[in-house]
């Protein structure tokens, strides 16, 4: 119980917000808009799954936004050339994995600090994309929309896929040896090495996995609209990291889980629609989001302080 304090408190906070909305803005609960909201957040959730792994492994990746953009544009170009989606999706995931592998090699292979490495790749990828594409949009063929399914089916597919990934990763992190290795490496890489785990390999693989998930998420976003803007992933990294951290994944590695991150993501995702529903002016949004992040960590800090001394 004590161990999962943070996950529980975030879930409670989420519950409170949802309850408040039920009281003051019951219109929030309409199936179709909620499904739309879920669909919009599904790609973010997929990226968050990968980010949880990376942060538990005591690393961070701030280049996911740029990776997302690069994958989106490349996947869109392929789709525009007439590639079937069945090939575009794996191609995008593979490209993402490749970009993740670059980070992985630099972080795990050369033992460079991940925050700086991914800062560098973030800038490099983003500017490289701008240089090559000069900000041009890509128009997508009709067949790409919703995987060529009907809209409702497409939305359910996306939300279902994201949730399935969440559950799969959540279970794997708890019940697969590989998942526990990520925790072990994040807690103490040297101890992991002495226990026969290969920390560098694990670190490399979590970056690759995050990249692949980002590539996948890019296609999940792609099918939602007839056009792709190259700035599509801008700011995604902060959104995902904030959600993961609010959900109780410790930035110092080794602690936290996917369920908390999920709750954190839902909490932050609710802010913007909640403001609209409560008729609060838009210019408060950033301040409120910042306050939520701070409140979440402050609550944790106060509790730990009390507990320790």
């Amino acid at each position: 119980m004590k161990r999962y304090f943070r996950e529980i408190s975030v879930t409670l906070a989420l519950g409170l917000v949802l309850l408040g909305l039920a009281g003051f803005a019951p219109a929030f609960y309409q199936p179709q808009p909620l499904l739309s909201l879920a669909t919009r957040e599904a790609p973010t959730l997929v990226v968050a799954c990968g980010m949880v792994l990376v942060i538990i492994c005591r690393q961070i990746d701030i280049s996911v936004g740029s990776q997302f953009s690069v994958c989106s544009v490349c996947a869109a170009l392929l789709a525009a050339r007439g590639w079937p989606l069945a090939m575009v999706v794996p191609a995008s995931a593979a490209l993402g994995a490749l970009l993740g592998a670059v980070n992985g090699v630099l972080v795990a292979g050369l033992r460079l600090p991940s925050i700086v490495v991914t800062l560098a790749t973030m800038v490099t990828l983003r500017q490289g994309l701008n240089l090559v594409r000069q900000g041009a949009f890509v128009n997508l063929p009709d067949s790409v929309q919703w995987f060529g399914l009907s809209q409702a089916a497409g939305q359910w597919t996306l939300v279902g896929a994201a949730l399935a990934l969440l559950v799969a990763f959540g279970l794997a992190m708890r019940h697969l040896a590989a998942g526990r290795w990520v925790y072990a490496v994040g807690t103490d890489a040297e101890a992991a090495r002495l226990a026969g785990i290969r920390p560098q390999l694990v670190t490399f693989l979590v970056f690759v996995l995050l990249g692949a998930l980002t590539g996948l998420a890019a296609t999940m976003n792609l099918v939602q609209s007839p056009q792709v803007q190259p700035m599509v992933g801008a700011g995604l990294e902060l959104k995902v990291i904030a959600a993961v951290v609010v959900g109780g994944v410790a930035i110092s590695g080794g602690r936290g889980n996917l369920w908390g991150a999920f709750a954190g993501l839902l909490l932050l995702a609710c802010v913007s629609p909640a403001l609209t529903h409560l008729h609060i002016e838009a210019y408060w949004e950033k301040a409120i989001q910042g306050a939520i992040i701070l409140l979440a960590v402050v609550a944790d800090g106060v509790r730990q302080r009390k507990q320790k001394f």
Binding site: L176, A177, A178, Y183, G186, L194, G254, F309
Partner: protein, 508 residues
């Protein structure tokens, strides 16, 4: 070289092993072998290369030269994983555990097979952990997070891992350094059981009496070279010491000389709810060494942390030189003339990345650098003086603290606090992991300080040390001071107080 047991081929042998760290030649061609069913002690001064040798055996470090043969197989690239497969288990000087994970998981990660896509059986993990912990006699919950355990408890977890691994070679690097008598006895039982089962045990310790009680053979290292392997029945304590340090060292405690003066520190009913300390009352006089004995977890370190302002007291009254003292932070305590040499020197005692000189001046910034401006010459001078006075083995004042061996790090930590010219010196396990030569050196220094009028509190789990050095002995149990005995009290009396009046020391 009489063989203690007639086994022909060794379990493990090492030929001409060499290893350098940058410029430091830690090992220069050591031969070593271990037979099945023996306890082979490894002995040597601080920095002689013992830890390095075992890091090679466990695959944690690759040797620069030489070869390792395990069970007749010559190994080229030994890795921790391979070593584990070959049945080599190790209990490091500082436990290599995962602090954020539970005890059960720590044990599981070490013992379970390698497959990455294997399903984790949590129930089996917990059952196994509970059983192994029971085997080493530790009362630790398998579901507890390791970060909440004390250092010796963590060591017991390590031992449980080694036993669970069914290792044929078990390496123990100073396992008793922070254990008290009772745990030590339990550990010995475990080691003897291992030996009886045909396991080869490599045992490193600075406590000679342990080695004589436990080991079959001993290899002595000096300056990275082996100076001989002997059966324990062929050597005497004095002979071993001479082998180690290359000279004679008297292992007697320097006598108390001066009569204690005015009370310097007085505690009345001091407690701190958060750290579980309560109702501690005693006083320490100028020129007196006040020893604090007790079992692991008795609260001695917690008491020191209260006095140093790390966990401020919330009950009782402390006076220092007749003035009220209530330090809320270490800087306050330092300003009042309190010095604390902590027990965990790698984490707290020295900053490993910083030069020795900077480590030594860390607590005297105000005095040494008036106005906050650094003065390189003053710093270097101070460092050189201490390196000379405490005979610290190092390349120079600019060498990083991490390049020193454990014992020398301890001396740097001591130097830092001596530089503050404190009124009250608190030593927590001052000679833990320190070789005999350096140990008697440190004892001499402590005694000299007391003679100069300093009040000293010396916390130690080394019973002979407490008995030999202290003018008075405080015994702690369950977070409070249960008895204050005169110096030179019999060991049995101290143990009785530490265990509680009704209990008798467990003979096992």
């Amino acid at each position: 070289m009489a063989a203690a047991s007639p086994t022909p081929s060794p379990l493990l042998s090492l030929r001409r092993a060499a290893k350098s760290y940058g410029g430091v030649r830690a090992l220069r061609g050591v031969d070593f072998d271990l037979r099945a069913g023996e306890v082979h002690a490894l002995l040597g001064e601080n920095g002689a290369g013992k830890s390095t040798l075992i890091k090679i055996i466990t695959g944690a470090h690759r040797p620069d030269a030489g070869e390792i043969t395990v069970a007749g197989r010559t190994l080229d690239g030994l890795t921790p994983a391979l070593a584990q497969q070959l049945g080599i288990a190790c209990i490091y000087q500082s436990p290599a555990l995962f602090p954020d994970l539970t005890v059960a998981e720590n044990i599981g990660l070490r013992l379970e097979p390698a497959g990455a896509m294997r399903r984790v059986d949590w129930g089996a993990r917990h059952r196994r952990a509970a059983q192994l912990l029971q085997q080493v006699g530790a009362s630790i919950a398998p579901a507890a997070e390791v970060r909440t355990l004390s250092m010796p408890e963590q060591q017991l977890v390590e031992i449980a891992c080694a036993i669970g691994a069914g290792a044929r070679i078990v390496v123990m690097d100073e396992p008793t350094a922070s254990l008290t008598q009772r745990e030590q006895e339990r550990l010995f039982t475990v080691v003897r059981e291992l030996r009886a089962a045909g396991v080869g045990v490599i045992y490193i310790s600075h406590r000679l009496e342990e080695i004589f009680a436990l080991a079959d053979r001993v290899t002595v290292l000096r300056d990275g070279q082996s100076v001989g392997t002997h059966g324990l029945n062929e050597v005497t304590e004095a002979g071993l010491i001479k082998l180690m340090v290359g000279r004679e060292v008297a292992q007697i405690y320097p006598p108390a000389e001066s009569a204690p003066g005015e009370p310097v520190l007085t505690l009345r009913g001091v407690g701190c709810a958060a750290s579980g300390v309560h109702g501690v009352s005693f006083e320490v006089r100028a020129g007196e060494i006040f020893g604090v004995a007790g079992l692991v977890g008795a609260g001695r370190t917690e008491l020191a942390r209260i006095l140093f302002g790390l966990t401020p007291a919330d009950a009782g009254e402390i006076t220092l030189n007749r003035e009220r003292l209530a330090p809320r932070s270490p800087p306050e305590a330092v300003a009042r003339g309190i010095a604390y040499v902590p027990e965990d020197r790698r984490r707290h005692g020295v900053v490993l990345e910083m030069p020795i000189a900077q480590n030594m001046t860390m607590a005297v910034h105000r005095r040494l650098f008036p106005g906050g401006w650094l003065r390189g010459a003053a710093e270097q001078g101070l460092a050189r003086d201490f390196i000379r006075d405490l005979a610290i083995k190092t390349a120079g004042p600019d060498a990083p603290g991490g390049s020193l061996s454990g014992g020398n790090q301890q001396k740097v930590s001591l130097a830092r606090w001596l530089a503050t010219q404190p009124r009250l010196l608190i030593l927590d396990e001052p000679t833990q992991g320190v070789d005999v030569g350096a140990k008697s050196e440190i004892h001499r220094i402590i005694r000299q300080l007391a003679k100069d009028g300093l009040a000293v509190i010396m916390i130690s789990s080394d019973l002979p040390e407490v008995l030999g050095m202290s003018d008075r002995i405080g015994v702690m149990r369950g977070g409070t001071l249960t008895a204050v005995l005169p110096g030179g009290s019999p060991a049995a009396a101290v143990m009785a107080a530490a265990l509680g009046q009704n209990e008798r020391p467990d003979p096992a």
